[in-house]
């Protein structure tokens, strides 16, 4: 039950070897073992979307993913989204310009979900964006601005 296990992960392009409790979820592994606290835990039950990260390019809820199940996978967190020169990702830029965040706690999940939403081809219209971004709750309710930001980034 408590035997730590060794796990190899590729996080933001960097290979990591960590010792991990098999009960640990990906969000806790990223935060507590890898030291990347940009990924947020809002509900720990897959209800709010704050912990969204990309696993092999697909958006997943890292609180519903056991870390040991993503060994060898490519994981992208909010810390790894900017270009190598530090240039913000088009989605990050659009969120800033559109005021698409307030307290910022759901924001890493929103941004990664938006990257996924655009990659999936689900950003064709405001209504489509609203639907496909509804897995990410924002209690500040920056929703209209998030729709505007995703529309803007999708065009870029």
């Amino acid at each position: 039950m408590n035997q730590d296990t060794r796990l190899s992960l590729t996080v933001n392009g960097e290979e990591r070897e960590i010792e991990i409790d098999p009960r640990a979820t990906l969000v806790d592994a990223l935060r507590d073992r890898v030291g990347l606290t940009g990924t947020k835990k809002g509900c720990d039950r897959g209800e709010c979307g704050a912990c969204t990260v990309l696993v092999d390019g697909r958006r997943v809820l890292s609180c519903l993913t056991l870390a040991v199940t993503v060994g060898g996978a490519e994981i992208t967190t909010i810390e790894g989204l900017a270009g190598e020169d530090g240039e913000p990702h088009p989605v990050q830029r659009a969120f800033l310009e559109s005021d698409a965040f307030q307290c910022g706690f759901c924001t890493p999940g929103q941004v990664l979900s938006a990257v996924g939403c655009i990659a999936e081809g689900h950003a064709g219209s405001p209504d489509e964006i609203r639907e496909w971004m509804s897995g990410n709750l924002c209690r500040c309710a920056a929703y209209p601005q998030i729709v505007a930001a995703v529309s803007k980034a999708a065009v870029r």
Partner: protein
């Protein structure tokens, strides 16, 4: 300052994951804490068996009442609930912590917490809201008189040509910020360091010092970013003292992060209300009497008053006004203010009743409100400091196309959609509190502002930049804002829609002091002025407080000082299934001078979503047998999602209130959540002919016979 407004300087940190929230702060050797909570709503703890938990791998300690220091007794507020956990055997509410498990990792702590066994004694059937006596609150969050009266409401109702009387209810609701409350605590000798998710580092510092019998300067609270609070992090809730006590006992830093379920019991909630409104009017729609009675649920050991009826004393002209508020002490966790408190639930009742009166009279609901616009405060007779409700109603109606409305219910059908248009007014009280800030100018002309304020999403760093830029005539981008540390000049707190007024005025005072010290004028390059004065650095501190004769919570004693708005909503109700969709909304607000239009707009549309949730989604049921909230999660307790909201046309009308503070600004954090539920319920009546008096609006009510 541009009319478009300033983008948030805190944006890059929030958009890259660099912004550190309380649970993100690294601490070598910190223990992870997990709470064990009571599963009964009352009675006493009989036995706590922690033997198995103590033997679990990684567990450093299981702390029970016997292990913790005795803390000083304090009222609520500043505490969220006056009885702190682990200080007595009595159980005050379901979910109250009864033990703290400390372990090397979170997984170990959570598992071990599940192995603690508790038995209880003296548990009786819980008393629910509606089953207890209505009582006058005598302590707690009350903020003024419970009963107000002017003229003879009974006589006013008797002589009215038309009267309406109806009872309205609002539901138990939960703040549900996406960031669960968290505290990382450690001791450096007699010095307590707290990284905590709060709405006021100042309140947390003072309260923790009092609880642990320390001088305030021995407590440092750090909180640059708060992941939403909405009231849940305003007063001091158990995570703060429990983390500090556990750190003291264990001798190691302790990180305590609430689970989502614990957020439903350990950070307050907006309590259910039952309100009865009676309106009397002449045939031409002039009010002859307004009576508003209200009772809200509160806890057994805490009186929390929802203050629902205050706005009924200032919103409409009436020769007779009578308001009365009571609480019921029932088995439940402690309530606390939630966006929007007071007027949030209260205005649902008043503005629904005004719509009912409009139909009884056959007068357009916008016109009815215009006919009852007062010249002075109807209860106190004081002048209004600024009041632009009429402009909000007129501009909103124009923009919405209200003149095209056909007043008859069920008269605007489109296909299978019953279309309804509804209107409601919004208003919010103006609370004010002291604030202070330091402005420092470097030799290179760079400006640093320091304030105890924490950034919680309201956009205060950009507001500070805007005020400094306006006062000094510099570029907003030259201003760096450092915030959220009790070592910085104190700010009362990001609560009660007070921060723009207090902090903005303090920053303005500090910036003016800089110019005075340099004998400079607005717009002159600061580096040059500094060099001329032979200085390498200059510092000035600014303070602002409400005038000395201000009332409780900084309310004005000289003026009727409030914010206003008008909400126009269109709903489409499926004729067969009763599903209500909000298809569009226009809102107009008067809230003093707007300092940063970009963030202010987001505050108002965000507030609207809170009203939408109140109208159509949010309700928490208390189990009548177990005395606990049934769904302590975000799957059972529904929050508005992106697809719930249409495009919103929100804007401000011109306003400026120099009586409120030198900037002319007022509060906008809560106003947006007010009036929305009534506008939607009124639209549902117009669409369907069904008057919904109980929130949230449910399919069964919409489908029932009128």
């Amino acid at each position: 300052m541009t009319t478009e407004g300033l983008v948030r300087p805190d944006g890059p940190a929030k958009l890259t994951g660099a912004a550190r929230y309380a649970a993100d702060v690294p601490a070598e050797s910190a223990l992870a804490a997990a709470l064990v909570s009571a599963t009964v709503p009352n009675g006493r703890l009989a036995e706590l068996d922690a033997a198995e938990a103590r033997d679990c791998p990684g567990v450093a300690a299981v702390l029970t009442r016997a292990d913790l220091p005795t803390l000083a007794e304090l009222p609520s507020p500043p505490l969220g609930y006056p009885a702190l956990p682990l200080q007595a055997e009595e159980i005050h509410y379901e979910g109250e912590p009864i033990a703290i498990v400390l372990a090397e990792t979170l997984e170990q702590a959570q598992y071990a917490a599940s192995r603690v066994r508790a038995t209880y004694t003296g548990v009786r059937e819980p008393i629910a809201f509606g089953e207890a006596e209505d009582v006058v609150p005598h302590s707690g969050h009350v903020l003024g008189g419970t009963d107000e009266e002017k003229g003879d409401a009974g006589a006013g109702l008797a002589e009215a040509h038309v009267t309406v009387t109806a009872t309205y209810t609002t539901a138990d609701r939960h703040h549900s910020p996406i960031e669960p409350s968290a505290t990382l605590a450690w001791w450096e000798g007699e010095q307590l360091v707290l990284h905590s998710s709060v709405q006021s580092v100042a309140v947390a510092q003072q309260t923790m010092a009092a609880l642990f019998s320390l001088p305030p300067e021995h407590v440092r609270v750090v909180c640059p970013f708060t992941g939403g609070g909405f009231g849940a992090k305003g007063y001091v809730w158990p995570h703060l003292p429990l983390a500090a006590a556990a750190a003291k006992v264990s001798g190691r830093p302790v990180r305590l992060v609430m689970t989502r379920a614990q957020m439903f019991t350990l950070s307050g909630h907006q309590p259910a209300t039952r309100q009865t409104v009676s309106l009397g009017a002449t045939r031409d729609g002039r009010l002859t009497a307004l009576r508003h009675d209200s009772v809200n649920a509160s806890g057994r050991a805490v009186d929390y008053l929802e203050n629902t009826t205050h706005s009924s004393t200032w919103l409409y002209a009436s020769p007779a006004i009578e308001t009365r508020m009571r609480v019921q002490r029932v088995d439940r966790p402690g309530p606390t203010p939630m966006r929007a408190p007071h007027e949030g639930p209260g205005m649902f009742a008043l503005e629904s009743a005004m719509d009912e009166l409009a139909y009884e009279l056959g007068i357009d609901p916008v016109e009815l409100r215009l006919r009852n616009e007062p010249d002075v405060d109807p209860m106190t007779g004081l002048p209004f400091s600024s009041r632009r409700l009429v402009e909000c109603l007129r501009e909103g109606a124009e923009r919405f196309g209200w003149a095209e409305r056909s007043p008859e219910p069920r008269s605007m059908r489109e296909g299978n959609d019953l279309v309804g248009w509804g209107v409601a007014a919004a208003t919010m009280d103006t609370f004010r509190a002291p604030s202070s800030a330091k402005v420092r100018i470097g030799a290179d002309g760079r400006i640093v502002v320091e304030t105890g304020m924490q950034e919680i999403g309201t956009g205060l760093p950009a507001m500070v930049q805007a005020v400094v830029a306006e006062t000094l005539g510099c570029d907003p981008g030259d201003v760096e804002v450092r915030h959220g540390d009790s070592g910085f000049p104190p700010h009362a707190g990001t609560m009660g829609s007070m921060s723009a007024m207090g902090l903005g005025s303090a920053v303005q005072a500090a910036a003016r002091e800089v110019l005075a010290k340099l004998d400079g004028r607005q717009g002159q390059p600061l580096a040059g002025l500094l060099a001329e004065s032979g200085l390498t650095e200059l510092e000035a501190e600014g303070r602002w407080s409400p005038e000395e004769d201000a009332l409780a919570a900084g309310r004005s004693a000289r003026y009727s000082m409030h914010t206003y708005g008008a909400i126009f909503a269109e709903v489409r109700v499926d004729a067969d299934f009763g599903v209500v969709r909000l298809s569009r909304a226009v809102t107009r607000y008067a809230a003093g001078r707007i300092l940063n239009p970009l963030a202010a707009h987001s505050q108002l549309t965000g507030g609207f979503a809170w009203g939408y949730g109140q109208a159509l989604l949010e309700h928490s049921d208390v189990d009548p047998v177990l005395g606990r909230f049934v769904s302590k999660n975000l799957a059972g307790y529904l929050l508005p999602a992106n697809a719930d909201l249409p495009d919103l046309d929100a804007a401000f009308v011109e306003d400026d209130d120099r009586f409120a503070n030198p900037l002319g600004a007022k509060g906008i954090g809560e106003l947006g959540a007010v009036g929305v539920a009534a506008a939607i319920a009124n639209a549902v009546f117009h669409a369907t002919g069904r008057r919904v008096r109980n929130l949230p609006i449910r399919l069964a009510t919409v489908l029932s016979e009128p």
